[in-house]
Symmetry: C2
Subunit: 325 residues, 2 copies
């Protein structure tokens, strides 16, 4: 019930997922049953035996305070869906509702994995080559170096299980290439990352090379991560807009969408909250059905690969071992 025109977009995305994705995917739509069934009437020819509706009478609104949702709206689609996941009745949870509310509710209902100090929202950035997992992308600010090291491990498991990166290259967002560059946080985090034998650390990544895709995981404090992420989306749109204007002014035909398909965020299926006991994926409120479908694809992949078990293992073994304390 989270997209701007819920539940139509969620329903359209789910139907498309049932048709296009692997047949092991079953979908439970959580929300107002009559609205959902109404939206489903627009669709036909999909394997409806793999689609279920679970009624929830309430809906989290953007103005609801994130920390209060659990108590104020216990029968909201968000809380009910997360509880289904927490109880093991579904293998993953997806929401296009308010990011803060999904995070707060996921943290409470799924709990952090043992050893994870700060679960973190990651976002997959399109680059000129392979996609990069940016972690943290806005959840945690004023991080400590050790937390950045933990982000690296969370991101590395995601890059491996979901993006198929065999030995994920981990980079640190910084303002210079050499060790010792950057602010206190970055220069200390560099030391920890470089000393961690369980990470394939490739060093500092400057703002100007982020776009080259030199790493599979880009580690950053959530402040700079969030600025980078939001700026990226807006600059790409702005530049595309300038080109579009010139195309119109000169009466030139060009399939701009095709030209810029590399930048299509909807391919990457939402932003996962990593480091909790479960798969919780956050989508934009303005998601398209395609973006919802891709979030379902990623969620199914996370379940198939048992990503959460991999993270639990990473933290019980490799991360603890790498801790310098």
């Amino acid at each position: 019930m989270g997209t701007d025109d819920a539940p139509a977009t969620e329903v359209a995305g789910a139907v498309r997922a049932l048709v296009e994705l692997r047949e092991d995917v079953e979908i439970v739509l959580v929300g107002d049953r009559s609205s959902i069934e109404g939206a489903l009437e627009e669709h036909s020819g999909y394997p409806s035996e793999r689609l279920h509706v679970h009624h929830a009478s309430e809906r989290v609104l953007p103005e609801d305070r994130a920390a209060k949702v659990l108590r104020a709206k216990p029968d909201s689609s968000m809380v009910v869906g997360l509880k289904l996941h927490g109880a093991g009745e579904v293998d993953a949870f997806i929401s296009a509702g308010s990011t803060g509310a999904v995070m707060a509710s996921s943290l409470f209902l799924l709990r952090p994995l043992p050893g994870v100090e700060r679960p973190s929202v990651a976002t997959v950035l399109p680059t000129a080559t392979s996609p990069t997992v940016l972690i943290d992308s806005g959840t945690n600010v004023d991080c400590k170096p050790e937390q950045l090291r933990q982000f690296a491990h969370l991101g590395a498991v995601y890059a491996k299980d979901i993006l198929g990166a065999e030995n994920p290259r981990v980079g640190l967002l910084n303002i210079g290439e050499e060790p010792g560059k950057g602010d206190e946080l970055a220069s200390e985090a560099y030391e920890l990352l470089a000393a961690d034998e369980h990470l394939n650390f490739v060093g500092n990544i400057e703002g100007r090379v982020v776009i080259e895709g030199r790493c599979d995981v880009l580690v950053a404090d959530g402040f700079v991560g969030n600025v980078l992420l939001k700026f990226y989306e807006s600059v790409a749109l702005f530049v595309a807009g300038l080109v579009q204007k010139e195309l119109v002014a000169t009466g030139t035909e060009l399939d701009l969408e095709h030209a810029l398909r590399t930048l299509d965020y909807s391919e990457y299926g939402g932003a996962p909250l990593l480091g909790v006991n479960g798969v919780s994926i956050i989508c934009h409120g303005g998601s398209s059905p395609k973006a919802i479908m891709n979030a379902i694809r990623v969620a199914a992949q996370a379940a198939r690969e048992d990503m959460v078990a991999d993270m639990r293992e990473e933290f019980s073994a490799r991360v603890q071992e790498g801790a310098l304390e």
Copy 2:
């Protein structure tokens, strides 16, 4: 002697400046006299009576350590040029040499203005509307809130004197719009900026709206400022490259340079080091003659407006008064 093909680019830029800019501009080219005179032979039809050459036998190289330049290369074009400015023989200094070396030498030879804790390199960002002065763009990391407030004043004088913004709108780069958002630095800086009656503070600016040009001065710690700046240049180039590829693939003609002229950094004439007793402007090593000409235009404007006196006054009056300590 700082551009990648010095002194040809500097000479070409200077000649163009003498032809295109106001006639009060006189230029002193500092560097190896014979190389400069050789490069000048390529040009004719310019008012040579306003062009002077001042010999300097050494040249600062990228590998020279910034802090050592002053002692190691006292007869470098950089040091000699800055000394001419310090002695009042020229009204401004421009270099396309190593940023660190220009900064270190400028700080030592020109000295910070009274009350300025950290002189700061600003960069003018092209936006969808009017340009934005980003300060700090990479000089100072691990800043304190009060230092960000000082950046705001430095940037405001620059925006007024150089960009003609009457009552410069000051924004704070942050990860949310409301007061209280962000990390410790940003939320505390917000308080200081909002309480300073001498600033036209317009609030927090998120990554996604930087491109809209909602403020004339965008205040940030140099870490995030530098990431933003370098990322901007690279994303714009990347998107343009995708479009270019599609144009070639489809055999379509479009003047992409014209379409993207808004993004042309060379219009803004280099990055000024603000908060010192002088005008010191740093250009890219890869600057074009046009970029050098525009740096000269900005330098001349700073001299005409007596920008340094305005900053001195700002710091002796308004900034001190606004200090909450």
